[in-house]
Amino acid sequence: MTTLKRITPWYAWLWLAALIAVVPACADKSDDGVKTAAPEAAAPADPVQQPPSPRYEDDQVKARVVMRTHDQLTAFYLGREFNRAAIDRILETCFVTPLVHNKTVDVLWLELDEWQFSQGDKVIPRIKRDYWPDQWRDTGLTQAHQSTFGWTLMPEVRDLRLDEGVGGSVVIPMQTRPFTMTMKFHTGADKQGPVKTVVFEDLQCVTN
């Protein structure tokens, strides 16, 4: 079975060979010289960014936050033929819908457990996926609708690849006062890169 192979082009090899051939191998004699030539490690980015609005963008990440009104949520789920009781359970909570796009990082780790919702020093616990099965049992929501609902939620974990985006709802208990959402992302395939943090302040749960 042949697959599409990643092949270094012949001209790259030729070019390297030619350059090495004309440069005497004296680097071995000078460790200092080799070290000087090595690139320096990139300094970690400023860990906290303060966007002035529910949009944030830098050279690595683009993020946006949409707060869904009750009318929007009702229209969406009624359109998908959810029953009214199930929609009422949804409306008891606050749906925060972030959209995140990895512009340039090799792997940007979306891990919802690394995100925090807060009001001053008070942490607002997230309503996780395991909250919903009881609600659906009580309201008689079908398996098909439960599946659809699941796809509208933000994934719990996602290794966002270069140029990959993700969106979905993150749910918290209904809040009457503004809150802050702190999105923390590990970077790199092994999560050893600089941690990226994006903060959205003064978010509000909206009803109508």
Binding site: M1, T2, T3, L4, K5, R6, I7, T8, P9, Y11, A12, W15, L16, L19, I20, V23, P24, C26, A27, K29, S30, G33, V34, T36, A37, A38, F76, G79, R80, E81, T142, Q143, A144, H145, Q146, S147, T148, G150, W151, P155, R158, R161, D163, E164, G165, V166, G168
Partner: protein
């Protein structure tokens, strides 16, 4: 003199790596991931006419397995480009399989009739087959090779009717 040569050599190496990186990065179209070649999960579903389709019976050619729903914006945007490749390639080269996730026939028909009228979608009525495949979200497209192995995954919606993706598919089916 020696230091200059060392620098020159370092620059040469960096340039070589850049060239090599550029070459590897351009092999696959944007947004396609190479998978590890594990067996594709089972996929046995009925289409809208009630006819059963089984992935295990689709050996000997590539299969494009696409998970989607009408409520998903990127899915709606991508669908005409899937119709385009459906028209362009024969099923014995690349079989296009749409798997609708947990929607009703009326909903699916209402959308597909105007966008991709020639493709008969499979209906994952309860959404459980989609969950077993664990796509990274909707839409998601898997390329299953002629031996039933998962080879590539497209991240989100892709413009399949553009030269970059058409060339990729042509290259696949030529193998």
């Amino acid at each position: 003199m020696c230091n200059k040569l060392i620098r020159l050599r370092a620059v040469a190496c960096v340039c070589f790596l850049l060239l090599a990186w550029q070459a590897t990065a351009s092999e696959l179209p944007k947004g396609l991931l190479t998978l590890d070649g594990r067996d594709a999960p089972p996929l046995v579903l009925n289409n809208m006419d009630g006819d059963r389709w089984d992935l295990s019976e689709a050996r000997g050619h590539w299969v494009f397995v696409h998970f989607w729903a009408t409520w998903c914006g990127p899915c709606r945007k991508e669908m005409p480009t899937i119709e385009a490749i459906f028209q362009k390639f024969k099923p014995q080269e690349l079989e296009i399989v749409l798997v609708n996730t947990a929607e009703t026939e009326d909903t699916v028909f209402g959308f597909l009739a105007s966008v991709a009228p020639d493709i008969m979608p499979l209906m994952d009525e309860d959404g459980l087959v989609t969950e077993r495949w664990q796509p990274r979200g909707l839409p998601a497209s898997f390329f299953v090779d002629p031996e039933g192995k998962l080879r590539y995954l497209a991240l989100g919606g892709r413009p399949w009717d553009t030269p970059e993706y058409l060339d990729f598919i042509k290259q696949l089916i030529r193998q």
